[in-house]
């Protein structure tokens, strides 16, 4: 399949490893990524707080770019997914639509609202399908217990985003099981990572991240995995701070979603940038019991 690749800011900057792993997985599954150098940032939820109409217009412009090319969009970040999708929902309001069109039409940008925005998790589990994923597994992750961590904007508001469920999703766990890992069930999997207030009140943000890591740990997780690079920042890059905030030693490897899949497809740690993580991941990888079965 062919899809417009919307990597988002972080995967092009501090979370390059997410981009590396995405390309590896898509290459393996036969997903052709079409790149658009004119996509802008989605506003990350922050521009929405400062100026809603502007945020919708910025994203309507992104959506129109993919529409013009006749392609659906692939996101690899829960927040990008939420913001682009929410812009589509808000554009159904005739008043919003008129205001945003008033800014876009003079630029020759026509937004129709026909494009589908899909996170990689959905493309893999629904469009590609788990049997096709299983067929590509060369090193099943038997023995590795992984706590999925969804990221709020992938799920909620569930009615507006038409997500699988606001609080009880299962597609990520299904995918982890398909590549041989053991999914861990814990309450924190659908909770917030604290990122939105990481620069507002770091102590509270770090404590929120710490709680979710502790919860995953208490339920036996060897590692966590997230479809959102903002969650990854909070859970991995700031894990030392989270550890202090919850006054408890933490040493939880946190994977990006496509990294886990790529590992099962036989990728080396170098190919998916695991050395770029702040918390080492080799302990979790060592849990994988079977040797490669190429």
């Amino acid at each position: 399949m062919k899809i417009a690749y919307y990597p988002g800011c972080l995967a092009q900057e501090s979370a390059k490893e997410l981009d590396m792993a995405t390309r590896y997985v898509c290459r393996t599954l036969g997903i052709e990524l079409v790149e658009f150098p004119n996509f802008s940032c989605c506003g990350s939820g922050f521009i929405d707080e400062a100026n809603e109409a502007l945020n919708i217009a910025i994203n309507a412009r992104n959506l129109a770019i993919a529409e013009k090319a006749g392609l659906d969009m692939l996101t690899i970040c829960s927040t990008c997914q939420g913001m682009l999708n929410l812009a589509k929902v808000r554009m159904q309001d005739p008043k919003v639509r008129a205001r945003v069109d008033g800014a876009l039409k003079p630029l020759g940008i026509e937004y129709k609202g026909t494009v589908q925005v899909k996170h990689l998790l959905k493309v893999i589990t629904e469009d590609i399908g788990l049997p096709a994923v299983k067929a590509k597994v060369r090193r099943p992750l038997h023995g590795m217990k992984v706590g999925a961590f969804y990221g709020c904007h992938l799920l909620r508001p569930a009615d507006e985003l038409q997500s699988e469920s606001g609080e009880e999703p299962h597609s990520f766990e299904d995918l982890l099981a398909a590549v041989g890992a053991t999914p861990v069930d814990y309450r924190g999997r659908v909770m917030c990572c604290g990122f939105p207030i990481l620069f507002v009140k770091p102590s509270t943000a770090n404590a929120i991240a710490g709680r979710q890591i502790l919860d995953a740990k208490a339920h036996g997780a060897d590692a966590m995995a997230t479809p959102c690079p903002l969650c990854h920042t909070s859970l991995d890059a700031y894990q030392n701070k989270a550890s202090k905030a919850v006054d408890s030693p933490l040493d939880m490897p946190v994977f990006h979603l496509p990294q886990v899949i790529a590992l099962a497809f036989g990728a080396t740690p170098q190919e998916i940038g695991l050395s770029r993580h702040l918390v080492r991941t080799d302990g979790a990888i060592a849990k994988v019991s079977a040797s490669p079965t190429a």
């Binding site: 109409a53 502007l54 217009a57 207030i197 709680r211």
Partner: protein
């Protein structure tokens, strides 16, 4: 017409502070039809099996808001949550008291923190004494004015949102979703004369601790959508007085940030939020992250079609009012 019953297992949180050393979960199994509300199940347990079970309820019709509790970890009204779907998903029904409020007994919590935040936002009309409301007739509102309330007047103060809120859990400085949704309701009321004062007071008092995780909106049985009204309040607060807090500076700074390249410039954003002196406190962590991810110091690639983005800003983001 009869509907067949299924065996429903309730694992109910039991705890009496001061008497029990620790909470425990008690298993009760009842034969119930799938559409039976969880509350009906709990009342049958209390009436037929164990009269010592403590719980709050009244109307049984999702009007009074008394029976909010955690059902399989979701904050919900027990009277409108049916046993069938919960059993199908979880194979049992774990019933626990609401979160973020101390347990008094079993499923009954002390709602003092919730009501304290509610009273702090002064949930009553502040009128202009020189223009009293007419005593002999209602004060009419236009349809446009009524529309601005959105769904906030529907709130039944059940506290399900407060129970679901991770910000309220982690930080007592956060007023909680219900209090903020209520504040919104008064901040758009055409009869109220304290809009500006209300926004000035809330901006430094917890507004920006909302995580926009939308768990409150999932929990709300009346579709008040607190997280979306909190978003509205944030934009209203910036419009009224400029960005005065770290939270609003970050949101405002993010908006300005895209003007350069159309993609986020991480270093510039940190500077916009904390200021040059405030950045000093970020240096240690910054170096730690930079050693693994040197891109945080890099300027982002400028997108193609940047002039389109500039024009969208010009059309929809006029220059702000001067700060206070």
């Amino acid at each position: 017409m009869s509907e067949s019953t299924v065996a429903v297992s309730f694992d109910v949180y039991r705890f009496q502070p001061g008497k029990d050393a620790a909470p425990r979960y008690q298993r009760y199994t009842l034969d119930l039809t799938p559409h039976t509300p969880v509350l009906t199940g709990l009342l049958r347990i209390r009436d037929e099996v164990d009269p010592s079970l403590g719980l709050r309820y009244s109307c049984r019709s999702a009007i009074c808001g008394s029976c909010a509790m955690q059902i399989n970890s979701k904050s919900r009204l027990a009277c409108e949550t049916q046993v069938g779907p919960e059993m199908a998903r979880h194979g049992r029904i774990v019933v626990e008291p609401m979160r973020n409020q101390p347990v008094m007994r079993d499923l009954v919590v002390d709602q003092t923190p919730f009501w304290r935040e509610y009273s702090k936002i002064e949930p009553h009309l502040k009128l202009d004494p020189r223009r009293p409301m007419p005593a002999d007739r209602p004060t009419p509102m236009t349809p446009v004015e009524v529309e601005r309330f959105k769904e906030t007047p529907r709130c039944i103060a059940c506290a399900a949102c407060y129970s679901a809120c991770p910000a309220a859990e982690a930080d007592p400085a956060f007023p909680g979703p219900m209090a903020l949704a209520k504040l919104y309701r008064f901040a758009v009321d055409p009869r109220d004369t304290a809009h500006q004062e209300r926004l000035l007071r809330i901006q430094p008092n917890g507004l920006w601790l909302c995580l926009r995780c939308h768990l409150c909106t999932e929990a709300c049985p009346k579709d008040v959508r607190p997280s979306e009204r909190i978003r509205d309040l944030k934009e209203m607060a910036i419009a009224a007085q400029g960005a005065t807090e770290l939270g609003s500076k970050h949101a405002y700074g993010f908006k300005e940030n895209l003007k350069g390249a159309g993609q986020i410039n991480e270093m510039k954003l940190v500077r916009a939020t904390f200021g040059l002196t405030g950045m000093v406190g970020q240096i240690g962590q910054g170096i730690r992250v930079w050693r693994k991810k040197p891109e945080i110091m890099k300027k982002p690639r400028k997108i193609e079609g940047m002039e389109e983005l500039d024009q969208i800003y010009a059309a929809l983001d006029p220059p702000p009012k001067e700060g206070p």
